[in-house]
Amino acid sequence: MSPTAQTLNEPWGDGRDATRAVDGAAPAPYMNPYLAGIGLGLVLLAAFVIMGRGLGASGAVNAFVAWVVGSLAPAHAQSNAFLAEYLGDGTTHPLKAWLVFEVLGVFAGALLSGLLAHRVRVSVEKGPRVSAGLRLALAFTGGATMAFGAALARGCTSGQALTGGSMLNAGSWVTMLAIFGGAYALAYFVKWQWR
């Protein structure tokens, strides 16, 4: 059962899926991507104007890991050049980082949008040919892979492609093109997960 273009634009991708959202209502269709993009761009611009920095996500993960390692094995964390940067001189808690709070906001904002559009429900996004269990394992693996890549690239799609892209940062454009390149290159080989 391959999805049609129509079903891909329906929030839950399957015209025959009668499941409702947690509040019992049918999901609303997604927003026009160009309008959503303008909204996102304005949020990004607000960050530039208010904070003098852009958006991000992987940096929050780095801070979190630095905090955990710093709490469990402080000497080891301090001697690790990568983690030590997120611990600083100890005057501020590693989790009191801009990105950590921003990511919490992302959760809240997405939840808000989801509730308004009746798109919140417990589910596992996957193609028809894989089991939920396998999908979860692959998602976990993908997360670990992306975090590793993000550490190398000094950011992920939000920090590098989106933020750096709009600021015409050369390294960010390299990263962005590499992301698309890597994804397209591997897509064929993992198609069984999605189609």
């Binding site: 891909l8 991507p33 997360g143 892979t145 890549g149 690239a153 709009s166």
Partner: protein, 195 residues
Amino acid sequence: MNTPFYKYGAFGDETSLVVAFVIGIGFGFFLERAGFGSARKLVSQFYLNDLAVFKVMFTAIVTAMLGATYLAWMGVLDLSLVYLTPTVLWPQLVGGLVLGIGFVIGGYCPGTSVASVATGRLDGLAFVLGLPVGTLLFAEAFPWIRGFYENGSVGVQTLPGVFDLPYGLVVFAVVLMALGGFAGASWIEKKFQPR
């Protein structure tokens, strides 16, 4: 010139964390509006069925880029105070490829995975749980890959700087490229409609 507000001392670090949360709400809101809490919608970009990722990302880039350029031109925004990550060619190239690979395996990127958890996706949760594992692996491997991590470091570079072109011209070129991409996207989506 009195923006970015934070860099001009308009408010302190504590307040900036609140700002982070609010900006994050905007970020997460529009991610979910666009449907990016759904792995199937996201990866459809790489099977050319649904190019929303490209549309949203580049609309956001163009919006923020034009906004920042005009504000800087008007003397409202001090662009030199907006943080840019330094360009480090090789790790960003490889990191980007790894990010892309992780994207099609995991189905999300760090930012969208948070949006996905907020809307109840268990695979999004698995992805989020994988993130710190990847970061930890990177941190532990850091002493060995440190050399590579810094390979090709050229400091902060912008595209206008690298190509020795006026800023505004590069901005226009990016706009043209995006508009061309959007036009092409409709054609590609029709052509690659899943059967």
